[in-house]
Amino acid sequence: MIHGEESWHRKLVEHRSALMAVGVTVGIALGSLIEIVPMYTVAAGPDMADTVAPYTALELAGRDIYVREGCYNCHSQMIRPFRAETLRYGDWSRAGEVAWDRPFQLGSRRIGPDLARIGGKYPDAWHYEHMADPRATTPGSIMPPYPWLLDDKITAADVAATVGAHATLGVPYDDTSVEAVSRSLEEQGGGIVTRLAEARIDAEPDDEIVALIAYLQKLGAS
């Protein structure tokens, strides 16, 4: 561990711990700033957030459930621009389509299929039955069942907190009051409940599964 004569590095840096700390900080700051800052300052074409409507209250509630259950550990939401991917999943993903996503949910592993364009691919009842028992709709599936989503409830106050936080972060929501959020939840949830009833499935607008279906049906459907 003894290195003989005093090198320039020893005299200049190793004797001055503060200088070494500054050197490390500058070293890591350079790449960080050059990669992150242009995401805000360089225009990436037309404002793509304009092309996709923000999530509704029910969709946000469903998104929270998606995050809570860690769906991103097995499902991606980013279709790459390859023929094999667009054949399987649909058009490749654009930045504007995830512009409202907090947190982003691109995922890193496809243990199950990509979900970026799952919206509209299956009826609401398919998702209901799939979450209750994945093998009922997909023979051989290795996905665990999520029966608690059929019983557990969302609350308007909780969803209003989510909507409020998004509004504070700049998402254009007009009315973030609990009453307005509650009305919005019942309206959109009621539609899903009606469609489920047509498939002889009994559900309530405030069931977690209804919120999750709303979110999944929004994906890629803009």
């Binding site: 190793e14 711990s17 050059i34 992150i36 860690g70 999520y146």
Partner: protein, 470 residues
């Protein structure tokens, strides 16, 4: 007075115990996850035990609990000896140790409950993020305070690597955790969409760089020469590869987002710097392996040397594989497949895990003043772990490349997908998932054996020569 009395080795011993305990827990959860993928009923039908909730527990446990405690144990032992001064404050050492363990326990409770921020390796909810920042600052003050009061003029190479971790992890954690709380357990990041993705993978890849790489290299620079009683091969090489790692690593994050909607220039920067990283990485590998020159005979007899050689070799292997997978054409095949999982584990089990046990098999006898209880058990652990890793990563290579090729296969007659049903590509993997379970189980058994061996070492009666001194 022995150095153990001069320096606070009680803290070192606590961190060692926590390393082994959380290592076993984190790896056990990994084995459960491996079983769940091979056999879905192992999800147990309970919300708290599903794959989606347990996988973050596994990754956080092995990264922050196992590796974290290992790094702290090694730093609290080596830093005072390198600076010839105790850590800055015994109180901060206690705050650091107990604060870190409290964070780990709270992670183990909240993650199965589904309380998560939903960003990989940054899942912990905002109150825990705040606690991490506070405990990290306590550590940083303890660390820089010791450097400030050092009684040697220059900083040894291990300290440079430790310092790069302390500074960079602070920046990464604080930036990636910037979020607006909505409730006590939920928050939403200030970044959104592709910007959030870029910040996350800038964080994620540099957690690999500055938590799983640079501090372990620092540990290598202290403990490997100590173990084999040889000087580091090249001082000049250590300077060059240190600064190159610090400068290059930070750019590499976008290789996690190749072919995504991230702007092309950012993807290209990520790819180019990832490929360039092979040079400083192999600089570190060569400096480690060449330090063994003239001591290769110990490879046959000394478990510590066996562990170091395999650790450094896996470092070289995974830092070759990583740049390879960062090349767009390769990534097009490997991304979203189990190849990535195999790559991560050759780094985590091969490099970090083997380096941790190389260090512990040398360090525990040092701090307890005893001989290692069983050389035979350590050698058995070595073979269990090494063969386990090889089974694991080979299974993941085959699974990953198989699935990647099936996803992209086009039927030449129809011009359509050869395997349009996604399930076809999943069912192919099940045999390899069982094989991976076997590999992981072997590695876990090795860790349990190490826990027993180190425990027996610590409670062995003191050898006669030490009793006389006492």
């Amino acid at each position: 007075m022995s150095t153990g009395e001069r320096y606070d080795d009680a803290t070192v011993k606590r961190f060692i115990g926590a390393t082994v305990l959380w290592g076993a827990v984190g790896m056990l959860v990994g084995v459960v996850l491996a079983l769940q993928l091979a056999w879905w009923p192992a999800n147990l039908g309970l919300p708290w035990t599903t794959f989606g909730r347990l996988r973050p527990l596994h990754t956080n446990a092995v990264i922050f609990a196992f590796t974290g405690n290992f790094i702290f144990a090694a730093i609290y032992y080596s830093l005072p000896r390198l600076l010839k001064t105790p850590m800055f404050s015994p109180l901060l050492s206690k705050v650091h140790f107990w604060g870190w363990q409290a964070i780990i326990v709270s992670a183990a409770i909240t993650l199965p409950l589904g309380l998560t921020q939903g960003k990989e390796y940054a899942e912990l909810i905002w109150p825990i993020d705040v606690a991490i920042a506070l405990v990290w600052v306590a550590f940083a003050v303890n660390f820089f305070g010791a450097i400030w009061r050092r009684r040697v003029k220059h900083l040894y190479v291990a300290v440079w690597f430790y310092m790069s971790m302390v500074i960079t992890i602070t920046v990464l954690h604080v930036t990636n955790s910037l979020a607006l709380p909505a409730t006590l357990t939920r928050s939403y990041p200030v970044f959104s969409g592709m910007t959030d993705a870029l910040v996350q993978w800038w964080y994620g890849h540099n957690a690999v760089g500055f938590l799983l790489t640079t501090p372990i290299l620092g540990i290598m620079y202290y403990f490997l020469p100590k173990s084999v009683e040889r000087p580091v091969y090249s001082y000049r090489l250590s300077i060059v590869h240190f600064w190159a790692l610090v400068f290059l690593y930070i750019w590499a994050g976008p290789h996690h987002l190749l072919y995504s909607a991230l702007p092309d220039w950012a993807q290209t920067l990520g790819m180019v710097f990832s490929v360039a990283l092979i040079a400083p990485s192999w600089g570190g590998m060569l400096n480690g392996l060449l330090t063994l020159r003239g001591a290769w005979d110990k490879l046959r007899t000394d478990p510590v040397v066996k562990f170091w050689v395999v650790a450094v070799s896996f470092y070289g292997m995974s830092t070759f594989e990583g740049p390879l997978m960062s090349i767009r054409a390769v990534n097009a095949l490997s991304h979203y497949t189990d190849w990535t999982i195999g790559h991560v584990h050759s780094g985590a089990l091969g490099w970090v895990g083997m380096a941790a046990f190389a260090t512990l098999y040398w360090l525990v006898p040092q701090v307890y003043g005893r001989e290692l209880h069983s050389q035979k058990a350590a050698t058995a652990h070595f073979w269990l772990a090494t063969i386990g890793i090889v089974i694991y990563i080979v299974a993941m290579w085959v699974a990953g490349i198989t699935q990647g090729l099936m996803w992209r296969a086009i039927d030449p007659d129809t011009g359509l997908l050869a395997y349009p049903n996604f399930m076809d590509t999943v069912l192919q993997l099940i045999p390899f998932y069982w094989l991976r379970l076997l590999g992981g189980l072997m590695y876990l058994c090795g860790t349990l054996l190490a826990g027993w061996n180190l425990w027996q070492t610590a409670r062995e009666p003191l050898p006669a020569r030490h009793q006389e001194v006492a």
